[in-house]
């Protein structure tokens, strides 16, 4: 618009370029902003610690069942007996090996959370970007509908569905994902609204690009930074929610090994055999802290990019 805006930009970019040496971007990453954000975020200590924790926890969940000394349902000693050479962290309330159950119990939480996150992100991004692009009545309809779902506490909604239909895993994925969607939608609509006003969207309209192509081809690649942050954030919440549902007894059913369920089963004997509660709590806690650290790093990298890389 005003000429001096370009003057300032040119000078500022010149200054920054000269200060930081070469342009910070890597040629092949330019088209894939998300790769470039991830790479930059890895330069931050917090992200590295987070990634370390997450890799460690995922390794436990995935490889745990292979190295577990016992079957998760095998009785190894007296109920609530303490650590011994046979059972490293003792036996649980039913006399099963705490350590083996712990090694077996992470995978379900992980994949349920990942699937719920994916579902929530896809649904939410779709709704948010469509609302941002359409403006007008469709925007109002989608976002007011969104508000209705937002007013529902997530856990109540999940429990309601699970008690009504039954403790099915697919139902947990759907409902947890569904509770994420309105939150994601609101963020993505906000990010999209600013992009929609730019002329390249009009340039696409004037040549007759289809609506879905504008949303996926023009809009989506320009909102990758908030999207990455949302993925991390929703993953953290998913882990908490899925574990919470299991703890309340609406997730996996006994005798399956599961972190949430382990806490539930052993909560009464916590003073006698604390390991059976402490280990799964630690696992869930670490996983959440890890994903949170990664998300935070990504968010910082994305902000840095938005400040310096755009023009």
């Amino acid at each position: 618009m005003s000429t001096d805006q370009t003057v300032d930009t040119a000078v500022d970019l010149g200054l920054e370029g000269a200060i930081e040496g070469s342009a910070p971007t890597h040629e092949e990453l330019r088209g894939h902003q998300w790769l470039w954000i991830l790479r930059r975020s890895l330069a931050l200590t917090r992200t590295r610690i987070g990634v370390g924790i997450v890799i460690f926890m995922v390794a436990i969940a995935v490889l745990g069942p292979l190295v577990a000394p016992h079957s998760p349902t095998e009785f190894v000693g007296a109920p609530n007996s303490g650590p011994s050479s046979n059972a490293l962290f003792g036996a649980d309330a039913l006399g099963r090996d705490v350590f083996s159950r712990w090694l077996h119990g992470g995978l379900t939480v992980l994949w349920l959370s990942a699937a719920a996150t994916a579902f929530g992100i896809i649904l939410g991004t779709g709704v948010g970007l469509v609302a941002a692009y359409s403006r007008g009545w469709l925007d109002d309809l989608l976002m007011r509908g969104n508000d209705v779902f937002l007013s529902f506490p997530a856990i109540i909604f999940v429990l309601l569905a699970v008690t009504a239909i039954g403790p099915k895993l697919w139902l947990i994925v759907l409902t947890v994902g569904f509770t994420h969607a309105p939150r994601v939608a609101r963020v993505m609509r906000g990010a999209g609204q600013e992009i929609v006003e730019r002329d390249f969207i009009k340039a696409a309209e004037v040549v007759g690009e289809k609506r879905w192509r504008i949303v996926t081809g023009e809009l989506l690649p320009n909102v990758t930074s908030p999207l990455l942050v949302e993925i991390g954030l929703r993953m953290t919440y998913s882990i908490g929610l899925v574990a919470g549902v299991s703890f309340l007894g609406f997730g996996l059913q006994p005798p399956t090994a599961d972190w949430g369920l382990m806490i539930y089963e052993n909560r009464l004997s916590i003073s006698v055999q604390p390991w059976a509660v402490f280990l799964p709590v630690l696992a869930i806690g670490l996983l959440t802290v890890g994903t949170n650290l990664v998300t935070d790093g990504v968010a910082r990298a994305a902000i840095g990019l938005d400040r310096g890389g755009e023009s």
């Binding site: 618009m1 005003s2 000429t3 001096d4 805006q5 370009t6 003057v7 300032d8 930009t9 040119a10 000078v11 970019l13 010149g14 200054l15 920054e16 370029g17 000269a18 200060i19 330019r30 088209g31 902003q33 730019r198 002329d199 390249f200 009009k202 340039a203 309209e205 004037v206 040549v207 007759g208 690009e209 023009e218 690649p221 320009n222 890389g309 755009e310 023009s311």
Partner: protein
């Protein structure tokens, strides 16, 4: 005649050998800046993007932008060396002895404070010895000086209740309120319409004269500087390459850059071919050895590549930094740009708009518009902001759907929305946007953007075929085919606009709608884009609908002109007729208010006023 000769008083501004470098490096942003401004004198500091003109302007306020620091030289304001002043003294200086008129009053005035409060603040900060009554009196006086009402109702207004021109006047009143000795104007009229601009410029000039204020007027607009300044200094890549009295600078410039710059400026006084400057200005840290202009200079020889030329004094305060001024002087003068050729306009109508009325919500924005664009014709739509010219362009291209009346392409009446139009119709009308920084998707390479256009509108062949066609499109706008792999943020503004044009042409259109396509660009780049559009029109038999607020530009490119105001057409006719014998009062007013180098120098008489 400069004020220096007339009154041998000490200069209000005396800058010597000023150097501003990037912090912690020996890369300079500007260097060897020397200038003097005498009381009552206006010095025009001209330069293109990144030339460092704003940096110099800010330095007079004792301010250096983040990332830079003064690396040498001295700035004396009213005899006081700024480097010797403490932060507290500098604060007292700013707004008191030196004041500033910003570019955009819309962002420099505090939207939450009343006009009266903001003016009082300035006075309270500096005129501490004044009583409240004296302040109020001064405040009203300041407003009267800029021809604004000074009654209480006006003082109680908020900035958003004023027009852009009024806001700028308030900013000027604030700048002059403390009776400064020096004033720095940073393109204060860039965002304003010509009519408003003319009045603001007059106000600034009169106030500088009457209060004997020395003014530094920073601008990229040579015509404005020609009308306002007593002396002119031209900056290129952080150096002043030429400075001198206004008349000599515009009629007998000696530096090759000044001459090229003048050839790039269109003028309402005559139909002339504008010529761009090839290449781009080097940014700090990236400047060539020797004279910074040599890679773009037609006179460059070996000595130019070795060291930056020293200052040559030509007498009469005219100084230039070039080794080959004698050779430059022998060349034809810049006016030699000559007349643009007339060209053949086809008889058949490509686009016709018939009794079109448009609405924005409940607002009626266009009234009964009729126009025709012929084959190979360039029709210019001119008007000030809010005249509806862009809305009309958007109706034509199907971006604005809320209209009644007919838009015909050839024999077909087009549906309102671009989406409901046939692929052929969309292909034949292509739109080039104002701001090339916003019209290209930052996540897509140039090649992808053009290839998409090709696949939309042509039976695209294989990948190799598309790649070859993309290269062809880029060559047509004088970009190398390697640009296909670049992202928009790796290109300059001019290059981006070329890409936008290349993308439009990839569809092989009949009509190109150009919406202020050069207003975000520097003059030398603007000239190059205008040259390009003229050439493409000949080659491809294009028709152009050229929307602009710049009358001078129209004289250079357009065959016919439509003048619009408040959503109505007030006059239309051939370009020659509109410029030599305008019939509508509004057109006459526009012409009279458009700054012109030729008129300012007295080479031609002003158009009917």
């Amino acid at each position: 005649m400069s004020a220096a000769e007339a009154t041998p008083r000490p200069a209000s501004v005396d800058v010597e050998d000023l150097r501003i470098a990037l912090t912690g490096t020996d890369i300079d942003v500007v260097d060897e800046i020397a200038l003097e401004i005498y009381p009552g004198e206006v010095l025009g500091l001209v330069g293109e993007s990144g030339s460092g003109k704003t940096t110099v302007g800010m330095a007079l306020l004792g301010h250096v932008r983040r990332g830079g620091a003064v690396g040498g030289g001295s700035i004396r304001i009213d005899g006081r060396d700024l480097s010797a002043l403490s932060q507290g003294d500098l604060r007292k200086l700013r707004g008191g002895t030196v004041s500033y008129i910003p570019q955009d009053p819309g962002t420099s005035l505090n939207p939450a404070l009343r006009i009266g409060t903001q003016l009082t603040e300035i006075l309270e900060a500096h005129a501490t010895s004044m009583t409240a009554e004296q302040r109020t009196a001064r405040l009203r006086e300041a407003l009267e000086e800029v021809a604004l009402p000074s009654d209480d109702t006006f003082l109680k207004r908020y900035p958003h209740q004023l027009s852009g021109g009024q806001q700028q006047r308030v900013a000027i009143a604030m700048a002059f309120a403390n009776r400064p000795r020096v004033i720095v104007c940073d393109e204060p009229t860039t965002g304003l319409d010509v009519t408003t601009q003319a009045r603001v410029l007059e106000t600034v000039r009169d106030l500088c004269r009457s209060h004997q204020v020395a003014a530094l007027y920073v601008s990229h607009d040579l015509a404005v500087v020609a009308e306002l300044a007593d002396r002119v200094a031209v900056m290129y890549a952080g150096r002043i390459v030429e400075s001198g009295p206004r008349e000599r600078m515009f009629s007998a410039p000696r530096h090759p850059y000044t001459r090229r710059l003048l050839r790039a400026v269109p003028d309402i006084a005559g139909k002339r071919t504008v010529v761009g400057i090839p290449g781009h200005a080097a940014l700090p840290g990236n400047r060539p050895e020797g004279c910074f202009f040599h890679p773009r200079c037609e006179f460059a020889q070996d000595d130019c590549r070795k060291a930056f030329p020293p200052v040559t004094d030509l007498g009469a305060a005219h100084q230039v930094r070039c080794y080959h001024i004698d050779q430059v002087a022998r060349e034809a003068p810049p006016e030699g740009a000559g007349q643009a050729d007339a060209h053949q306009i086809g008889a058949n109508v490509v686009l016709a708009v018939q009794s079109l009325d448009a609405h924005y919500g409940s607002r009626h924005t266009l009234f009964d518009i009729d126009l025709e664009v012929h084959h190979n014709e360039c029709l210019a739509l001119v008007g000030e902001s809010g005249s509806g010219k862009t809305t009309l362009a958007r109706c034509v291209s199907g971006l604005h759907k809320d209209y009644t009346g007919k838009v015909r392409l050839g024999d077909d009446v087009l549906p309102q929305a671009a989406r409901s139009r046939s692929n052929l119709a969309r292909r034949q009308i292509q739109y080039v946007f104002q701001n090339p920084y916003a019209s290209l998707n930052p996540r897509r390479t140039v090649g992808q953007a053009i290839a998409r256009q090709l696949t939309l509108f042509e039976a695209a062949g294989g990948r190799g075929e598309v790649g070859r066609k993309v290269s062809e499109c880029l060559e047509r706008v004088a970009l190398s085919s390697s640009a296909a792999n670049r992202f928009p943020d790796q290109l300059s503004g001019g290059e981006r606009q070329r890409v936008a044009i290349a993308r439009a042409l990839a569809a092989d259109p009949k009509l190109l709608v150009c919406d202020e396509v050069t207003s975000a660009l520097d003059v030398s780049v603007q000239a190059a884009i205008i040259e390009l559009l003229g050439k493409l029109r000949e080659q491809m038999g294009l028709s152009l609908l050229f929307i602009t607020h710049d009358l001078a530009l129209i004289r250079t490119i357009a065959d016919r002109v439509i003048v619009m105001t408040d959503g109505r057409i007030v006059e239309q006719g051939t370009t020659e007729r509109i410029f030599t014998a305008p019939s509508a009062d509004y057109t006459r007013k526009l012409l009279a208010n458009t700054p012109s180098i030729e008129v300012a120098l007295g080479n031609v008489t002003a158009p009917a006023s």
